[in-house]
């Protein structure tokens, strides 16, 4: 099989995310490319959760409406998702909890017989799935051992019972071989930041970036990292600025509500030229909205947040591989130009699982610009052609480093002088031009396909689903990865002049579309979705065909 999907569903607290990951590992172990979508409401126990694990022989990053195997821990799963099962697909279900036409596994009975705790139920289902998919027991055994360092035995037992009670339905005809590394978007961001030189991570928990905090806290010791979870997001941002002054390479993570609270600090960072990376994981807004669902509603907010005008970098990676690359580069660029850099993620990317491809693209070199000897007396805000001044940390021997949120002179001392004000404002924006120039060396706009009839323009996590849709429709995809400073030239070149341009966004007001119009691009139609759920391939293809016959 070249491309198939498994859906596993049950109630919150039953470990559905974990179960999905194990299935993903299983398929990964056969060398498939993997994408996993995890859908859950904002509660800890109960409610309906499900994961869709998709495996394909080509690179993917989106789910499909139709699934090939449905794994049901409860009746609700069958009710909600049976319609998704493609003809000839298999249902594997807990026959002690529901009735269905498929492979019933008496999970309660098995658990009772094995004296196993409730949380192992999904191991039974996974075992049954493995058998049904024609996966060898040894492969499953290896993965369970790795994934359950605690409770290995009991999970193995339950899985084996499931395995034995099942029957083969599909054929995984690929050799068992190592796949690509399987990581969540947030893990990719974290690893990318580490690669870029991260030394501190400061965050207050907020879905969908909490798991980035958890991940980095977990690996703190390994990487000589400092992870801090302070009282709130205002403190997060200010601590990050202070840490940057003290020489740390620092990132913060949050979602919209926390980002609101960071906006004042963001402007301070802009004015004071303190670099900082902000991972902004979008979720369905406004306000508390749908905490565990996705959105692309914060693009314009991210571009314009905070009073006044200063340079910033805003990027929106599409999948784990891009997230890895651009997190690393965002950090380097933030420090090189002494600006805030925002990585726009969303629930889909942050909490989805992907096969990671480490791009071999050249990384930008960080030009560390500590003060040289010629810089005595040291001036924190020395005027230069690029607008970038040598950045000395506190302490630097013999240097007085003055950082300031007011307009200031080159020494960092407050000024209210009209001419100095204008010069400093120009300095702040000149760095943006220098940044734009540097970005010219990067692939800032991603393209795919050749069709001249239709260009699908999208951004962020919609990239992969647009790619597949474009393949179906014979269209092209043009996707800016950098959203500020907008890579107008590269975008114009990439777009060319298609017969029609359709912009696909996960929001209700077509925010990217409004940016494109500002640059004079024609937008023939938009396909918008704002119910918190990402597009499936089939859904997007249909929606695009509706507006572009």
């Amino acid at each position: 099989m070249e491309d198939f999907s498994v859906l596993i569903g049950g109630r919150a607290g039953e470990g559905l995310n974990r179960a999905g990951q194990i299935i993903a590992r299983l398929l990964n172990a056969h060398g498939y490319h993997i994408y996993m979508y995890y859908d859950y409401p904002s509660l800890i126990r109960g409610g309906h959760n499900f994961s869709i694990i998709r495996a394909a022989t080509h690179s993917i990053g989106a789910h499909r409406t139709h699934v090939d195997v449905l794994l049901a821990l409860n009746r609700e799963t069958l009710i909600l998702h049976s319609g998704r099962l493609r003809e000839g697909g298999a249902i594997i279900y807990d026959s002690d909890a529901a009735k269905a036409d498929g492979i019933g596994i008496p999970l309660s009975k098995i658990l009772k017989e094995e004296g196993a705790p409730p949380i192992t139920r999904n191991s039974g289902l996974i075992g049954a799935f493995a058998r049904a998919a024609g996966i060898q027991w040894e492969v499953l055994e290896r993965i369970i051992k790795k994934e359950f360092p605690k409770g290995t035995e009991i999970n193995l037992k339950v899985a084996r019972r499931g395995f034995d009670a099942s029957e083969q339905k599909l054929r995984i005809d690929r050799p068992s071989m190592k796949g690509l590394p399987l990581v969540s978007g947030n893990e990719a961001i974290g690893l990318g930041l580490l690669r870029g030189g991260l030394t501190s991570y400061i965050a207050y928990p907020m879905t969908p970036t909490s798991s980035l905090l958890h991940f980095l806290a977990e690996v703190e010791g390994d990487f000589g990292l400092k992870v801090v979870h302070p009282e709130n997001e205002i403190a997060v941002m200010l601590m990050a600025i202070g840490a940057a002054c003290g020489g740390e390479k620092v990132a913060v993570g949050t979602s919209g509500g926390g980002f609101c609270l960071m906006t004042e600090g963001l402007g301070f960072a802009g004015m004071a030229e303190c670099p900082v990376v902000i991972v902004l994981g979008q979720r369905t807004g406004p306000s508390t909205g749908l905490p565990t669902y996705t959105s692309q509603g914060d693009l314009l907010f991210a571009r314009h947040a905070s009073q006044g005008e200063f340079s910033r970098l805003v990027t929106a990676p599409a999948d784990a591989s891009e997230a890895f690359f651009w997190s690393s580069e965002s950090l380097r660029l933030a420090w090189r130009f002494q600006i805030p850099a925002i990585i726009l993620s969303d629930k889909t990317l942050s909490e989805g699982y992907y096969s990671l491809m480490v791009h071999s693209r050249e990384q930008s070199s960080v030009e560390e610009s500590g003060p040289g000897n010629e810089d005595r007396p040291y001036r924190r805000y020395r005027f230069t052609d690029s607008g970038v001044s040598p950045m000395a940390k506190m302490p630097t021997r013999g240097a007085v480093v003055k950082v300031n949120s007011y307009y200031h002179d080159e020494d960092g001392i407050t000024t209210e002088d009209a001419a100095m004000t204008a010069s400093m404002q120009e300095k702040l924006l000149r760095k943006g031009e220098a940044l734009s120039k540097e970005l010219g060396k990067y692939e800032t706009v991603w393209t795919h396909g050749r069709g001249e009839d239709l260009a699908l323009v999208c951004w962020g996590s919609n990239g992969p689903v647009c790619q597949e849709t474009a393949d179906i429709l014979g269209a092209r995809v043009v996707r800016p990865i950098v959203l500020h400073p907008f890579p107008e030239e590269a975008f114009g070149r990439a777009l060319g002049s298609p017969a029609a341009t359709v912009v696909v966004e996960q929001n209700a007001t077509a925010q990217l579309s409004s940016i494109l119009k500002g640059f004079g691009h024609r937008v023939d139609a938009t396909v918008l979705k704002y119910d918190g759920r990402p597009f499936s391939v089939e859904e997007l293809a249909t929606r695009v065909q509706e507006v572009h016959a």
């Binding site: 990964n28 190592k178 796949g179 690509l180 590394p181 399987l182 990581v183 690893l191 580490l194 690669r195 030189g197 991260l198 501190s200 400061i202 690996v219 390994d222 990487f223 000589g224 990292l225 400092k226 801090v228 302070p230 009282e231 205002i234 403190a235 200010l238 601590m239 600025i241 202070g242 840490a243 940057a244 002054c245 003290g246 020489g247 740390e248 004042e264 600090g265 301070f268 990671l356 480490v358 007396p377 040291y378 940390k393 506190m394 302490p395 630097t396 021997r397 013999g398 240097a399 007085v400 480093v401 003055k402 950082v403 300031n404 949120s405 007011y406 020494d411 960092g412 001392i413 407050t414």
Partner: protein, 283 residues
């Protein structure tokens, strides 16, 4: 820049008679003395909020973070996380630290971060021309409360003792020697040092007659006892005309938050390797 001395070339714009001069003076002398006792001035960072008090950042030839209103303390915390050896001193206002950013103050105390917080407590918003603050007396008629406030003041000494500060003191701008001594002690104290300095605002609130009459230095006070410190703190509620004890109320010892980052060194060269290993484990 510091070759020119500790006072910077920035033009001083405080009102004549402003109590900030006294704090500046005491601070300068404290730093000079510490310098002559071996403290490296390169390692001192002055962090301020926004307000009249905050001009301290401009006035000293010291590393400084002239931050935003109410947020000096978390910026200072970030510096300490970056480098636990820095001597970080926050000069903050009463509007700044007791209203806009009160939470950060309490959390710095809770964590007992090794830094010094000096509150220029003129009991009024100076720079925004005279509104009440959380330590203004009940009934204060400021521009936002022309008929008088309806809320009694906080007692920041008591709050900070409660929150866990390990050095808690009160100063007065017209007690220069004590103030200088206190600032020195505060800076050298390991843990969160907090000094609430009663500062007169020449333009908007100047109770120096009351202060002159009421302040006293308690004798025989046990500085190591939180209970005695609390008792002392409750002698004056920042409202009534009662005796006002000044001096060091409490000094204690307890673990310092940022010590967990002491010696943490990011091993950048081996990172690619470690990332590779991590990813290998995810195949």
């Amino acid at each position: 820049m510091r070759e020119e001395g500790l006072i910077s070339r920035a033009q001083n714009t405080w009102c004549p008679g402003c109590g900030n001069f006294a704090i500046q003076h005491a601070f300068k002398n404290a730093i000079l003395e510490l310098g002559s006792e071996g403290l490296s001035l390169d390692e001192v960072v002055l962090v301020t909020g926004i307000g009249c008090h905050a001009k301290m950042a401009d006035y000293f030839n010291l590393n400084s973070v002239y931050a935003i209103h109410g947020r000096a303390v978390p910026a200072a915390a970030g510096l300490k996380i970056a480098d636990p050896n820095l001597k970080v001193i926050c000069c903050v206002g009463d509007g700044d630290a007791y209203a806009e950013g009160l939470d950060h103050l309490l959390f710095a105390a809770k964590r007992n971060m090794d830094m010094t917080i000096i509150v220029h407590n003129n009991r009024v918003y100076g720079l925004t021309t005279g509104q009440y603050t959380p330590t203004s007396p009940l009934g204060f008629r400021g521009k936002s409360t022309p008929t008088g406030t309806a809320e009694p003041p906080f007692n920041p000494i008591a709050l900070m003792l409660n929150a866990g500060a390990s050095f808690v003191a009160r100063g007065y701008t017209r007690r220069q020697d004590q103030l200088r001594w206190m600032i020195k002690e505060a800076i050298m104290h390991r843990g969160l040092s907090f000094i609430d300095v009663l500062q007169i605002c020449a333009t908007f609130f100047d109770p120096h007659e009351v202060y002159d009459r009421m302040v006293y230095e308690p004798e025989g006070h046990d500085r190591s006892s939180i209970e005695s410190a609390m008792r002392l703190a409750s002698e004056w509620d920042y409202n009534s005309e009662s005796r006002i004890p000044i001096g060091l109320f409490f000094q204690g010892e307890r673990p310092v938050f940022e010590d967990r980052f002491r010696g943490v060194r990011p091993d950048i060269p081996s990172r690619e390797n470690k990332i590779g290993m991590f990813l290998e484990g995810r195949r």
